[in-house]
């Protein structure tokens, strides 16, 4: 493949994540509104929100240090970097050699680390509360993530993202494989928890004592807030892309031709739409869990992930 097309594909993936993520957020909000009998804002509203925030001045607490100002940039950076690694459209990602799925998870963790520090930096009780809860949930979700990855790896024989997709795309009766579905369920629950969606955290709330992610970023404003929100959207986009492409690998381009890339684009759009609908459905039908019931949910997802691994051991 020529240098030019390599760069073009990398850029394509990057642009998809950069500009697709606000749309995804908008679609979820719209679907939720419709399910709840509201009309809801336009699906392009998140773009307008980001634009508005970019044009506003930044107000920073005088207690903060450079960590607070640096974090939004780092957060967006980790997501952009992940966009180059995750097989969004194709498994032949030009910069996919930078890391496998485990490295990817640690890259996300790097963002969480800084965001939690930024929450503490202003010295407000809300920020501290948000950070404390965020890292608690991230820490408790980690075993599920890795065990689910173990479940995938031992069936695919690899932890590289392209290898997993190649292997699963070739497996007959994939959707009837119990271990596969269990790993998917576990990963889905973790994706909800990591992205601060219901029933773990409510992205729409600003009620002081229940919010987690929103409490942590309470002090942000202007372009810094725009970056934080945008990064959160990209994280959701990347997680859902991973879920779609790893567990339902149909349509992902195995070789890079204009035709396969177009198919991959359409397939991804359909899959993401379905996931957006699923999330909207979950968020309409379940209430937020009390904070101290979240570990139970995560213990449940861990059990499911462990079952996936055990099943794959015993039932070849």
């Amino acid at each position: 493949m020529s240098m030019f097309s390599e760069i073009a594909i990398a850029l394509l993936q990057l642009l998809m994540v950069m500009f697709g993520s606000p749309l995804l957020v908008g679609v979820i909000r719209k679907a939720k509104a419709r399910l709840q009998g509201r009309r809801g804002a336009s699906i392009f509203q998140p773009y307008a929100d980001i634009r508005k925030l970019l044009l506003k001045e930044v107000v920073v607490s005088e207690n903060t240090s450079w960590i607070f100002r640096f974090t939004p940039y780092l957060l967006a950076t980790t997501m952009l970097l992940s966009a180059l690694i995750v097989p969004v459209l194709t498994i032949r990602t030009p910069l996919g050699f930078m890391g496998n799925i485990i490295a990817l998870m640690y890259l996300f963790l790097l963002g969480t680390f800084f965001l939690a520090l930024a929450g503490l930096d202003a010295g407000s009780a809300f920020g501290g509360m948000g950070s404390s809860r965020e890292v608690a949930i991230a820490a408790l979700a980690e075993p599920t993530v890795l065990i689910a990855i173990f479940g995938i790896a031992l069936r695919a024989g690899t932890t590289s993202l392209d290898g997993i997709i190649t292997r699963f795309a070739a497996e007959p009766l994939l959707m009837l494989n119990a271990g596969h579905l269990l790993a998917f369920i576990a990963f889905f629950i973790v994706a909800l928890a990591e992205n601060g969606r219901l029933p773990v955290d409510n992205p729409a709330t600003h009620l002081e004592l229940t919010m987690i992610h929103e409490a942590m970023v309470l002090e942000y404003s202007g372009r810094l807030l725009a970056l934080v929100e945008w990064a959160a959207g990209m994280k959701l986009f990347l997680f859902l892309t991973l879920l779609s492409n790893l567990f339902f690998p149909w349509g992902v381009a195995l070789a890079n031709t204009p035709m396969t890339l177009l198919t991959a684009f359409l397939a991804l759009a359909v899959k993401l739409l379905l996931f957006a609908g699923a999330i909207a459905l979950v968020e309409t039908s379940v209430a937020k869990l009390r904070l101290f019931r979240v570990p139970e949910l995560l213990a449940g997802s861990f059990t499911v992930a462990l079952l996936a691994v055990v099943t794959s051991f015993f039932m070849k």
């Binding site: 005088e62 485990i102 640690y106 010295g123 407000s124 950070s131 051991f313």
Partner: protein, 677 residues
């Protein structure tokens, strides 16, 4: 590359001479504390540099043999150098260089209060003993050096002996280290008796012919001895007491380096002295490692004493290292030598990495202690603005220990994960399940470590100071900062260019178990098992930097508003934010306390004193939320009580009657005769 033996010998002699000069020099210059401080630690610094050169030369293939038959009875003193020993010399020297540099500035505060000559002497003895332990080649040499190391560190721990707490910590350390020593002694003697030689080198061949039961017994004794030095749970009780009590440069050495000699012993036991062990050895080490990792980080997570937090986190990291050692033994027993070598590389790399970031963190904590005179996180905060450089170094250490890319902890943990995940190639359900457990434990550990170091850094350095000591803190003296800068640099280099160290490690492992590790690497990338997993840390780091620079530029091109205004933190409309509004270290840890209540068994207490006029006004509120230490409560207390009872019973034997004692001697003599014949 073969390095000339005389060069090696010269380096060895220079190393010894420097430390000797440092020890004596400190004593000679005892009159002047300043001189003693600089001479003692300065010589140690040069000695450690020579040791580093010696170790690196050893890693590059230089060997050394040295027998001094007259120095010690029973076989004399025997030293030798292979790559594994050289690697540990490198680890120790890499910890000792910054520690000595740091000590030059740090010990200034002790002048007039404590004997700097004594400290300098003990420091030199401690470091040189540590460097010599991995070089020891027979039982007696090893044990003498081991004991020397323990004693020197004991005296360093009780430097601040005017405090009750320090003396207690020293006592616990003394007892535990000698219990471990007893186990080692017994194990060594049994092994020497069974193989008929005191020389380490001859053991591997001879051990293959041992009968399984005595081999297992020897393994158990040696493993207990080394694990107690490493601080594995449940033999860890001395560690969270002794490490915080010692002066910070000594804490850095003890946590960063000394406990690694326990790891050295475990590697020797598992892979060379006793030959290839059965799978259950590995399973045991792996499970002990998993438990140590999870419990260690859980205890670290709730501790408000900055140095004790770091000490508990050492227990965690030893757990991670043991996890990979255990995995290596299991793979070896399952006939997968390539993956075994990979796991061992991961463990040894983490050993080096931990030496770098734990020393860095202890020095950071020492700097904080130096500047504020408190280790209690509830009194700290806001140091980011007062000690910006220390804060930056501590941040790098925190990122590295939380295993985040692109720092060194990430690489070793990533390698560990790769080796654990490769366990699916073994087809034995029990072993598979043990590995699944290991994966889950390591994942939980790394998640909790992130939480732990967000808390450690965030509460200590960010937002507003919580006490006037913290408010009045200043940046520390330059040698201390230079030491931290060195280690921070090491964390970055080892994280972005792992091949620098992976190549010699690969050679080391090959020499140890004659199997090539299942890993390929070049300057930019590490690939495990033919594409099972890969990571390119240098590229990750570069991409991070590129995006970090491109983003602000992009925003500017988009026409984002550049204005920034400083204002108070939002306080629900309440004006005047003070430090009392901040989240505390205790509050931060509370979700974990609740989730893992089964482990912490927290005792809550709320004392409210109401105003005499009205119960609507409160005069004071005191809230205690102490955790209990289950190992101390459930294991050591009953054990101590039992020993006490036994001792009381034994007092009956002390009749004070000479004839009685003679009878004992006679019985002992007869028993010995019967046993030996």
């Amino acid at each position: 590359m073969i390095i000339d033996a005389t060069v090696m010998f010269d380096l060895f002699v220079v190393t010894l001479a420097c430390f000797g000069a440092g020890a004596l020099g400190a004593l000679v210059t005892a009159r002047s504390p300043t001189l003693a401080r600089i001479v003692g630690h300065g010589a140690a610094l040069i000695g450690a540099m020579a040791a580093l050169a010696f170790g690196l030369a050893g890693l590059a293939g230089g060997g050394m043999q040295l027998n001094l038959p007259d120095l010690l009875p029973i076989g004399g003193a025997a030293f030798g150098l292979d790559r594994l020993s050289a690697f540990f010399v490198v680890v120790i020297a890499a910890g000792a260089i910054p520690a000595s540099l740091y000590a030059i500035g740090y010990t200034r505060e002790y002048a007039g209060k404590h004997s700097l000559a004594g400290m300098g002497f003990a420091f030199n003895v401690f470091v040189v003993a540590m460097i010599l332990v991995p070089l020891a080649r027979n039982v007696l040499t090893f044990l003498v050096l081991w004991e020397l190391m323990s004693l020197a560190s004991y005296f360093l721990v009780i430097t601040e002996h005017e405090r009750e707490e320090t003396l207690r910590a020293g006592w616990v350390y003394f007892v535990m280290t000698h219990t471990g020593f007893a186990a080692l002694l017994l194990g060594f003697l049994l092994l020497a008796k069974a193989t008929g030689t005191m020389h380490f080198v001859q053991w591997q061949v001879a051990a293959a012919h041992l009968d399984p039961s005595s081999r297992n017994l020897i393994f158990a004794l040696l493993a207990v001895g080394f694990a107690s030095k490493a601080g594995a749970i449940p033999l860890h009780v001395w560690l969270p007491r002794a490490h915080p009590a010692a002066p910070s440069h000594v804490s850095a050495l003890m946590s960063g380096v000394m406990i690694k000699l326990g790891v050295y012993g475990l590697v020797r036991v598992g892979f060379s002295w006793l030959g290839v062990g059965p799978g259950w050895w590995g399973g045991t080490i792996l499970i002990v490692g998993a438990v140590s990792a999870v419990l260690g980080v859980l205890y670290a997570l709730v501790d408000a004493d900055l140095k004790r937090l770091l000490a508990y986190s050492s227990v965690e990291n030893i757990g991670i290292i043991m996890l990979s050692l255990g995995a290596a033994v299991l793979f070896q027993a399952s006939n997968l030598p390539g993956i075994a070598a990979l796991a061992l590389i991961a463990g040894l790399y983490h050993t080096l990495n931990h030496a770098a970031f734990k020393s860095l963190l202890f020095m950071g904590a020492g700097a904080v202690l130096h500047a504020t005179h408190t280790r209690n996180m509830e009194d700290l905060g806001g140091l980011m603005k007062r000690m910006p450089q220390t804060a930056a170094f501590f941040l790098i250490g925190s990122l590295a220990i939380a295993a985040l890319p692109p720092f060194n902890g990430f690489i070793s943990e990533w390698l560990t994960f790769q080796s654990l995940l490769l366990s699916f190639q073994i087809s034995a359900h029990t072993i598979n399940l043990i590995f699944a457990l290991g994966v889950a434990a390591l994942a939980l550990t790394s998640g909790l470590a992130v939480a732990c170091f967000v808390r450690a850094f965030g509460i200590t350095f960010l937002a507003l100071p919580r006490s006037h000591q913290a408010a009045g803190a200043h940046e520390v003296q330059w040698t201390m900062r230079a030491a931290m800068a060195l280690l921070a640099l090491a964390c970055i280099v080892l994280g972005t260019a792992p091949s620098l160290m992976l190549a010699p490690l690969e050679a080391t492992i090959f020499e140890l178990m004659s199997a090539h590790a299942d890993v390929q690497f070049n300057l930019t990338a590490v690939v495990a098992n033919d594409g099972f997993g890969w990571v390119a840390p240098l590229w990750l780091a570069l991409a991070l930097i590129v995006f970090l620079m491109a983003l602000p530029l992009g925003l500017r091109l988009l026409g984002a508003n550049k204005q920034r205004r400083s204002y108070e933190t939002w306080g629900c409309g309440r004006a005047l934010q003070t430090a009392r509004f901040e989240y505390t270290a205790t509050a931060f840890a509370n979700p974990f306390k609740r989730v893992f209540a089964l482990l912490y068994r927290p005792v809550k207490e709320l004392d409210i004193e109401f105003h005499p006029e009205s119960r609507y006004f409160v005069r004071t509120i005191a809230y205690y939320n102490e955790g209990r230490l289950i190992f101390e409560d459930a294991l050591y207390r009953p054990l101590l009580r039992m020993i006490e009872t036994l001792a009381r019973e034994a007092r009956a034997l002390q009749s004070g009657n000479v004839h009685g004692y003679l009878v004992y001697i006679l019985i002992a003599l007869v028993a010995l005769l019967i046993l030996t014949v």
